[in-house]
């Protein structure tokens, strides 16, 4: 059973990596932010599966915090940062 | 004796500044009597602690009743106590100076008046916590309190250059803390203890963790103590800040990082201090001595000159590492500690007096300073006394400190380091002499509208400078503690 949970977690982690590619490629700020939110949701699922594998109850709390705080980043983004970066993936500044 | 016990005094010294700062912040007001009473009480507690240490020697005070290695200890050492006393003197002087410098102002600068005292007390509390700490991680947190308060104090002067300097200082300080924490992690991974004495008991110079940890701790502290070549942040931060802030930063905050170097290299890391390490640290010191001294000579602005002088003086202090051997360890540690104390008192006096002179002259350029006249005369007197202490004219504290180190160098036959020390002293003489010569022999005309120089702006600098001169007599006494820092 543990192996099953772990395999599930691994699969979801692979999904996180796919979302990561979207974060990196954009092209718009909203794309990045949304795929970031997706990563957060997937992480909640990963944590719950890890709870299944290990039985550490605190993982549920971690997942709870992730789920609750996911709103915060997106709301901050919408209220404070957007649509400053809504346009193309232009370099905001040279590195 | 009617003095409170050492443990009580330590509790007062570490909690009172934090509590007062918090209360000042919460009330949003700056009642002058409360501030001065707290500062005075702290100074008395530090002096009483000094008396206790003279009688009892090194003492250990577990916090929460937990013994090492699980719990945290406070450790009262002669070296740390000298720093506590000096901190209290400079802290008190700065608090008095601050009431004269900031509180009369209204308008946009009222902001500075509002936040200066809480930040000052936070820094004071961080320093006190650091000087009694005997635990690697506790030292990290105390360092962070000190650094954050110092950065905020530099940023108090909202001018652009000051803000930039504060940013640079913050980054350098955080970089230093991070590397220091890496060292803590490595040593914990090797030995599983954080207490300095417990670490000294198990330390094996051959272990990879102890070597790597020692390097990391040292690099982190060198960045915080602004030792060449990691000094780049210091001149701006100290030169651009408000005068009382510069006094605390140059006199105490940098000294605290350097004190920690002493505490570690002559405490738990003592087994690693061989010829090569000493020579390397000494070379860095010689570089700082030369670089800071030459740049101090070239400065046109008074406070920048004093700031570069700090770089140079801490280069001098680095020479304790190559001079130390098993035989003269305690004398060298004593010399290093007294050097820090002398520098703290003299440099704080110099910065406070510089602030007064700059205000009286309405200019920061050395060429435009008011001459030896009127009330500015008292500020100049403080500059002269502080210069004498920095150069090391007998019988100042600077002389006693340098004398101890010179003796060690002669006994070891370390002629190179002896030469560096003499050269550094000459360089100090040169740049301070240039300041005195410009102002005393070639005075600028009187200001048309002389600003009000209150006692609060004149007295603290003068008293600190006087103390730096007079304490040298105490330091030549035979009653000096034999062991300044507990060794392995």
């Amino acid at each position: 059973m543990t192996a099953f949970y772990l395999a599930g977690a691994l699969f979801l982690l692979a999904n996180v990596v796919v979302a990561l590619a979207r974060v990196l490629r954009g092209p718009t700020a909203a794309d990045r932010m949304l795929s970031g939110a997706l990563m957060g949701t997937t992480a909640v699922a990963v944590l719950l599966l890890l709870y299944g594998a290990t039985g550490i109850e605190a993982l549920i709390d971690v997942a709870l915090i992730f789920a609750i705080l996911a709103a915060m980043a997106v709301v901050t983004f919408v209220r404070r940062t957007w649509p400053e970066d809504a346009d193309e993936d232009r370099p905001r500044e040279e590195p | 004796m009617g003095l409170p016990s050492t443990a009580t005094l330590v509790v007062i010294l570490v909690t009172l500044p934090l509590a007062t700062a918090t209360v000042l912040f919460a009330s949003g007001r700056q009642p002058r009597t409360l501030i001065l009473a707290a500062a005075l009480l702290l100074a008395c507690a530090a002096l009483a602690l000094g008396v206790n240490v003279q009688l009892e020697g090194i003492s250990v005070h577990p916090i929460g009743g937990w013994t090492a290695p699980l719990g945290i200890h406070w450790q009262v050492t002669p070296s740390g106590t000298v720093m506590l006393v000096v901190t209290a003197l400079v802290g008190l002087a700065g608090a008095v100076y601050g009431t004269g410098y900031f509180l009369h102002r209204a308008g946009p600068e009222g902001r500075m008046a509002r936040v200066f005292m809480p930040l000052w007390l936070f820094a004071w509390g961080g320093l006190n916590a650091l000087f009694v700490a005997a635990d690697l991680f506790n030292l990290y947190v105390a360092l962070e309190v000190m650094t954050l308060a110092s950065v905020a104090l530099v940023a108090l002067s909202a001018r652009r250059l000051a803000l930039q300097a504060a940013m640079r200082y913050l980054l350098a300080g955080l970089f230093g803390s991070m590397i220091y924490l890496l060292g803590v992690a490595l040593l914990y991974g090797q030995y599983g203890v954080l207490d300095l004495d417990a670490l000294a008991a198990v330390m094996d110079p051959q272990d990879p963790g102890s070597r790597a940890g020692a390097v990391a701790l040292t690099v982190g502290l060198l960045a915080k103590a602004a030792i060449f070549p990691l000094h780049f942040w210091l001149p701006g931060a100290h030169g651009r800040a408000e005068p009382p802030v510069s006094a605390m930063l140059s006199g105490l905050v940098v000294a605290a990082a350097f004190y920690l170097l002493l505490r570690l290299w002559f405490g738990p890391l003592a087994g690693l201090l061989n010829f090569g390490v000493g020579a390397m640290l000494g070379t860095l010191g010689a570089g700082a001595l030369l670089w800071g001294g030459v740049l101090a000579l070239l400065q046109r602005r008074l406070k920048m000159m004093v700031a570069y002088s700090t770089v140079s003086q801490f280069g001098f202090a680095m020479l304790v590492f190559p001079l130390a051997t098993a035989a003269n360890r305690d004398a060298v540690v004593a010399g290093g500690t007294l050097l820090l104390a002398n520098h703290a008192l003299a440099k704080a006096a110099l910065f406070l007096a510089a602030g007064t002179l700059v205000r009286a002259s309405a200019s920061d350029r050395i060429g435009n300073l008011v001459g030896f006249s009127g009330r500015a005369r008292w500020a100049w007197l403080a500059v002269i006394l502080a210069s004498a202490a920095l150069i090391g004219v007998p019988p100042t504290l600077g002389f006693s400190a340098k004398w101890l180190l010179l003796q060690a160098a002669i006994a070891e036959g370390a002629w190179v380091w002896l030469g560096v020390m003499l050269g550094g002293t000459l360089l100090t003489f040169a740049y301070l002499g240039r300041l005195l010569e410009r102002a005393l022999l070639d005075p600028a005309p009187e200001p048309t509208r002389p600003p009000l120089l209150t006692l609060a702006l004149l007295l603290p600098a003068l008293l600190l400078a006087l103390l730096a001169c007079v304490l040298g007599l105490w330091a030549l006494d035979d009653d000096m503690p034999t062991q300044w820092i507990p060794g392995s």
Binding site: L20, D61, T76 | -
Partner: protein, 311 residues
């Protein structure tokens, strides 16, 4: 170790390293910030893998949650193309030598750390647990064995608020970029949930992972969301009451630390029979105060006026 676990760890850590690199060097600043936020998220998962649920909780709440919001808000406050945010660096232009140095350092660090025996203090903690007054070992270390560290850490936090206020800037630019009509309703729905989870975590802290810091972070998140949704701080709350709430955690901690000296004359030595209740008191005061402090850190200035968007 199970091979699937190995694979999981490898993938997790690889993603973390890639995100860390992007978080520092991404071409676009916004991309860097989002990468850094995701880095924090995966770090929390890494803490879980290291059997450190307490840190995972704190990282999820502080590292990933509030830091991300703080960075995004800062990004919104910076003008574009402003050159003022850069430091002049003269001798650090060349990336390659530094990179070589970094790789050498990595190898050295790895070689050293692999050889460390890591004895640890777990046995000492276990022996002292019966007298600690709490069941969770991490809470016992934080609030009893090494409580002095924690007190200084709360001082650092309050100091950060004082420092930010001393910079004398306004509360963050209060004109929201876009209208968000559904937001107030959402926040009204979520806010009780935040409060509930705050107290849940405070209660958990006594016997499991949880405690003042994650709880405070959740409270702060709730308050920040409410402010972002346009809630106003009542004017009578901005002066002394706010300052007192900020200072309350540190003051309570100091009072307990000094107050218990009445028992045995030792700083921070809780009397054994009262230790649980005293620790719980400290934890609750600290948790609530931390919530307010974190909110103040997010706002970034002294709220002299009202805050929030159009209500």
């Amino acid at each position: 170790m199970h091979p699937v676990e190995m694979l999981f760890d490898a993938l997790l850590l690889l993603s973390m390293v890639v995100l860390a690199w992007q978080g520092v060097h991404a071409r676009n600043l916004f991309r860097a910030v989002v990468s850094f936020m995701m880095f924090g998220l995966l770090t929390a998962v890494a803490w879980v893998r290291l059997e450190a649920p307490d840190i995972a909780l704190a990282e999820a709440a502080l590292g990933a949650g509030l830091t991300g919001a703080l960075l995004l808000a800062t990004l919104g406050r910076l003008d574009q193309g402003g050159r003022a945010t850069r430091l002049r660096t003269t001798f650090m232009r060349f990336s390659l030598p530094w990179m070589a140095l970094g790789l050498a350092g990595t190898t050295l660090l790895l070689a050293v750390t692999l050889a460390l025996p890591a004895p640890g203090l777990d046995e000492a903690v276990l022996r002292a647990m019966p007298a600690a007054g709490v069941d969770s070992p991490v809470t016992a270390v934080l609030l009893n064995f090494r409580a002095w560290d924690t007190l200084l850490e709360i001082a650092v936090m309050l100091l950060a608020v004082v420092a930010l206020w001393s910079l004398g800037q306004d509360v963050l630019a209060s004109t929201p970029r876009l209208p968000a009509p559904a937001l107030p309703a959402l926040v009204r729905l979520l806010f009780p949930l935040f409060l509930l989870s705050t107290f849940y975590l405070l209660w958990r802290g006594g016997h499991g992972p949880g405690g003042a810091f994650p709880a405070g972070a959740l409270l702060a998140a709730g308050l920040v969301l409410a402010l972002l949704a346009g809630a106003r701080v009542p004017e009578r709350m901005t002066g002394a009451p706010l300052r007192c709430a900020l200072a309350a955690g540190l003051l309570a901690f100091l009072m307990v630390a000094v107050g218990v000296m009445a028992d045995r004359g030792v700083f921070f030595a809780y009397p054994p029979q009262h230790a649980p209740i005293l620790i719980a008191m400290v934890e609750i005061a600290a948790g609530l105060s931390i919530g307010v402090m974190l909110t103040a850190l997010f706002l970034g200035g002294e709220p002299t006026d009202v805050e929030g968007g159009p209500s």
